[in-house]
């Protein structure tokens, strides 16, 4: 059999195995029985193996081990990264796999290893949290705040544009107020008219949030409907290629169904 035929055959096998596998997973709607469980565990196992290969091929080998092998003396930072990674593993192995019986004291080497293992964890946390926080500030908080302020003070000659800018400012502040501030508590010592105003403002924000949640829910429904359509199309169109369907179609035609 030539390579093209082999490719087509393997694609065909992949199609049918995917079909059966999808049905096994769909069967979870009828309960978490053995067939569904096998499918779930198989999916998890295969996904984990795939991830392992990806990590090796795309990260550890080309970015760490291969450069160190080719030029071992040139890059101290990579050696340090390797050391930190190994420390992380050793600390995790000690903590998770070499568990002490409860009535034994922790040896000094264990304590040292746990302390050393905290260093890579702290580095990972430090870099991730720092980047996320600074990104929030630079990419979301400041630009959105700035554009809110700008849009709220656009006093153009056109009445509708001015009204729209006031609407945007009102809705944004109402939502922010409801989201972040306990207005009843804050306004407890204030005059009645202030309490009323804050309650109105926060109430507007609450209802606005519910409305927006409905809009988001509708778009999410469309998104998941697309996913369901895709899956059902795959299942039904694959089934239509089966011998069973083709035989049924032929019988229908013979019976004069058209």
């Amino acid at each position: 059999m030539d390579s093209v035929s082999l490719t087509l055959l393997s694609q065909n096998w992949a199609l049918w195995i995917g079909f059966v596998f999808s049905l096994m997973l769909f069967s979870v709607l009828a309960g978490n029985h053995a067939v569904a469980k096998v499918a779930q565990y198989l999916l998890v196992g295969v996904s984990l193996g795939y991830l392992g290969v990806l990590l090796w091929q795309h990260v550890l080998n080309p970015r760490l081990l291969l450069p160190l092998w080719q030029a071992p003396l040139q890059d101290w930072a990579r050696w340090l990264a390797l050391l930190l990674g190994v420390l992380l593993w050793l600390a995790a192995i000690e903590r998770m796999w070499l568990r002490l019986p409860t009535n034994q004291p922790v040896a000094a080497w264990r304590r040292t290893l746990r302390l050393a293992g905290m260093i890579p964890v702290a580095l990972m946390l430090g870099v991730s949290v720092s980047a996320v926080l600074l990104g929030l500030l630079q990419g979301s908080l400041w630009p959105q705040f700035w554009y809110t302020a700008r849009s709220g003070f656009v006093w153009s000659t056109a009445l509708d544009e001015s009204l729209i800018s006031v609407l945007v400012l009102l809705l944004t502040t109402a939502t922010l107020l409801h989201w972040t501030a306990p207005t009843a508590q804050l306004a407890a010592q204030q005059p009645r008219w202030v309490q009323g105003l804050l309650a109105l403002w926060s109430g507007l924000g609450k209802r606005a949030l519910w409305f927006a949640a409905g809009v988001i829910f509708a778009r999410l429904l469309a998104a998941h409907l697309s996913l369901l359509i895709g899956r059902l199309q795959f299942l039904l169109l694959t089934f239509q290629q089966s011998l069973l369907w083709q035989s049924a179609e032929r019988i229908w035609q013979l019976l004069g169904g058209g």
Partner: protein, 210 residues
């Protein structure tokens, strides 16, 4: 009593985190361009350490399930399926020079991973539709407003509404998305970002007192 060792280790960890924060802040702000190389090294370390952590996570899952098999716990047969599948894919990928782009691994991706993940996510729609039946009702105060928002957009995004309803309806819903809903979501983004920033700064400073 807190031992001096633990006391010191807590400060070491806090120092490392704050050190990273200062370096990255200075680099991103463009104040200290000399630090750029150091910051890039930190990011590379993050990439490598994350990979180490993920690999350990995979190994840990295997160990847990191997223990389950060894001890004959309930569902050990499923654990055997998981471990076998994981090792088979891992070994198949490592043995071939092209790794994930090898024919074997690509076949496994097309036959198992892609249909499996797609099927699991496709099931979510049924639960969402059932939740819509149960909760988007006029009788609930929040449900009323959510129902209004959902109905307006559902009708607009239904392709048939283009022929059944006047074109101005679609334009009006487009305006709704672009102006009022945008403003509401912006308020939510500002609020959640502020909250996240505060929580993050408290974490950085080691102050998680309530």
């Amino acid at each position: 009593m807190i031992s001096s060792q633990r006391f010191g280790s807590n400060y070491l960890i806090l120092f490392l985190i704050i050190f990273c924060f200062i370096l990255i802040a200075l680099d991103r702000s463009g104040v200290a361009t000399l630090l750029h190389g150091t910051v890039v090294t930190l990011y590379q370390w993050l990439l490598l350490l994350a990979s180490f952590a993920l690999l350990f996570g995979i190994a840990h899952v295997l160990v847990v399930h191997l223990r389950r098999i060894q001890q004959g716990q309930p569902d050990w047969t499923y654990s055997l399926v998981l471990v076998t599948a994981c090792l088979a894919v891992f070994v198949a990928g490592l043995l071939q020079p092209s790794g994930v782009t090898s024919p074997t691994v690509e076949w496994i991706f097309d036959a198992l991973i892609a249909p499996g993940q797609a099927t699991l996510y496709a099931l979510i729609f049924f639960f969402m539709a059932a939740a819509a039946y149960q909760y988007l009702r006029l009788s609930y105060p929040a449900g009323r407003w959510m129902l209004a928002g959902a109905l307006i957009v559902l009708i607009a995004q239904m392709p048939a509404s283009y022929t059944l309803l006047p074109a101005v309806y679609g334009e009006w819903v487009g305006w709704l998305l672009q102006v009022p809903v945008m403003a509401i979501v912006r308020g939510a983004i500002l609020g959640s970002t502020l909250a996240l920033l505060i929580v993050g700064m408290r974490f950085l400073l080691g102050r998680s007192r309530s």
